[in-house]
Symmetry: C2
Subunit: 485 residues, 2 copies
Amino acid sequence: MSRSDLSVLDVFFNPRTVAVIGASRDPTKVGYQILYNLKQKYRGKIYPVNPHAKKILGLKCYKSVLDIKDDVDLAIISVPAPVVLSVVDECGRKGVKGLIVISAGFKEIGGEGVEREKKLVEIVKKYGMRMIGPNCVGVYVPKTGLNTTFLNPSRMGFPPHGHIAFISQSGAFGIAVLDWAAMRGVGISKFISVGNKADVDEADLLDYLVKDPDTRVITLYIEGVERGQEFREALKRTTLRKPVIALKSGRSEAGARAIASHTGSLAGTDAIYSAVFKQTGVIRAYGMEDLFDMAVALSMQPPAPGKRVAILTVGGGSGVMATDACIDLGLEVPKLSEATEEKLRKVLLPIASPHNPVDVTGSARDEHLIESVEILMRSGEIDAIIWIPYFMVPGISEKIVEKFIERVKKVNRELDKPIPIVGAATGGEYTWKLAAKAEKLGIPMYLSVERAAKAVWALSRYGEWLIKNGVYEEYVERFRKIVGY
Amino acid sequence: MSRSDLSVLDVFFNPRTVAVIGASRDPTKVGYQILYNLKQKYRGKIYPVNPHAKKILGLKCYKSVLDIKDDVDLAIISVPAPVVLSVVDECGRKGVKGLIVISAGFKEIGGEGVEREKKLVEIVKKYGMRMIGPNCVGVYVPKTGLNTTFLNPSRMGFPPHGHIAFISQSGAFGIAVLDWAAMRGVGISKFISVGNKADVDEADLLDYLVKDPDTRVITLYIEGVERGQEFREALKRTTLRKPVIALKSGRSEAGARAIASHTGSLAGTDAIYSAVFKQTGVIRAYGMEDLFDMAVALSMQPPAPGKRVAILTVGGGSGVMATDACIDLGLEVPKLSEATEEKLRKVLLPIASPHNPVDVTGSARDEHLIESVEILMRSGEIDAIIWIPYFMVPGISEKIVEKFIERVKKVNRELDKPIPIVGAATGGEYTWKLAAKAEKLGIPMYLSVERAAKAVWALSRYGEWLIKNGVYEEYVERFRKIVGY
């Protein structure tokens, strides 16, 4: 089995049949919860394996994976570490294609665990299987309902299907992010907790996800990478087609020390990762919100063809703060030409400011935002727009979101280089009802202008990378087909 | 009327009677909405003034403020700019103590507006009144129900009573922040939109709020300050007793240009503000979330007596990221002594890590967090704690919040220098149900470890300031009385 034969990784996301080895009748056990969570949405066949039970959660139990008559595509293994090797050998004999080994007690504990992991990999390779883990949480794939996580669903939520893939070296952090994404309404294409990465690792998954039609953006949480060369090569291939955003922890010496005691990974010096990310066009995130703020923007909006940002605001103060935030990030907030200012002046209220930031003022009505955005988009003087609508002011109607986005899409359809737009919506329930609608229609919205500016920065950074590598047009053409404008 | 006679500012927050001059019967007008919003919670007497109406919203109308028999403490003025001067003169003759002039059309429009504002101030001074505005949104005081804002409440929320005062130079931004605070559950003592600051300005309000028993922390949004000397002196006096956090926009040249067209304020070079903030112990924020993340921490927790942070986590990855975030901010995440690690080892699971970050692991139970936090607090080796509980893991009970905080308070009661604690809770609905409970009981919680680290940084920064000025003990003694430990 060559690592380049990646279609086999499909088995981890869309298996026809799944065996849960170590399924338990005891609701406090991981082996119960995996089965419970899996049953909720997964529509393939599920075969629990437990030598002591006849039925669990209404499903017939098998003494061994070898007793299952049907083919088994994927086995999820949660037996105690000392039993894993024999169970995996049975999977090999059965012809199982993929394994997700949830069980801990391998390399991460040192000593005998290291030896045990080595033997595990030998068995996996001997039978030509592929394996995620050990010591992981597995996968969550909203589209197929495959869910190998083991936390009680009364305590966590699962996000809907979407276009962001998330590969996490930390299982707990991965789970927390899924839970947060569910609350935030961020859609996920595939979540993979890679655990000890004894077989499948980030490089494999990048090569798989770059071809995955459901994935537009790939996000990574990394503590340390072992196959550095392969990782770099995979990143290089991937970023020319899809943006990759990485949250690499252990930046500080104290953080690297903490990693050593957490996963036993060698964090390596942070400078090496920085260099690799720079060489391969990876966008680096500095926290969970940062990671997803940027990912959401890149999944919804085209890359920016440059650094020139126009700010279109209903609130003057927010316009000033957005300007500061852009400049802090190395973006530009250029003055507009006399001609463009004149066009804006014609459609705006007399008290409005046609300079950049364009301040339509709190007395604005829908048309002031809609006409201005078209003028800005067509000006040829800017590469991206931050929209700050203040939905609560009386002149702005409840229909502003639909009307504004319809115009934006129409204009973008006619432009050679589409102009990306993100929004900032500081406010409460009403504001976020409308902001959520905007996100549904394709404009990402942020609670603060600083976060919106960071999102634009990511769009600009990725645009720069695509242009530098001569693939901007190609990417944009593909993107237009996906989003329909 | 001397500026130092500040008790008169009470009239802006707790008036016995309020006249609404420019009250309107037309629900689309500001003069209607002010009256509507004011009526919701304010329990003093309200006198609408409108020469053409008999009753508005069930309240008897007066042709002029002079026709009101009762004394009028505060007049809220929303008549067109050209009428403001005569109306204000009537207020003076009536003996009104305070004016909130909502009307725009003054200095901010230049030209005749500048002259009009000058005359306005002359009249105000002639009668010994005080004035907030013009061109402002006024005040919101949850405790007395006084609310002079004019947005439709179907489109915005109002936060509950709390301990953070917020002075905003931008009305729209101020409103958006109130709305956000309502959703986030952040309590406000007093909100003041200062508008053009023709009379009452930040310096006055600082001197007032430093004595206000409902205010623990003062937050500011500033574009430009005119009375620089007075501002600096007021800051100096204030920060020795209460933390002040300032969000100053127009940091960049482009931002400063935007301010000029927004409020006509001279932003001044940012370096001057930076220097003043440094000299006066003001903590600078770089965005709305940053401002309130820090304010919430300072309102709930004692200042940190140093920079040494312990991280107590259920998730290893989050511990690493929290460490990175602390180091980025100039905090320390020190190794613990052998003796402390030994104590931790005795109460933790064998797989847990007793180093800093202390990783109790996803298998932890309540007691692991509770015993560890006491050991850390009593160690004498750390000055603050970041708690990362992962409420969703099965071993952590629903009662963890009460149990953990009870222990924290008990230990802090016994320590000479109380140790501040903030939490990071990445997650969804269940997590935030418990996190909200923690905030109610006094531990601020953040969605990400980076934000929790920034909150600790603010606590450490303020502690440093108090120690440097020899008032740490005094502050802590007062703080203990307020929070009861």
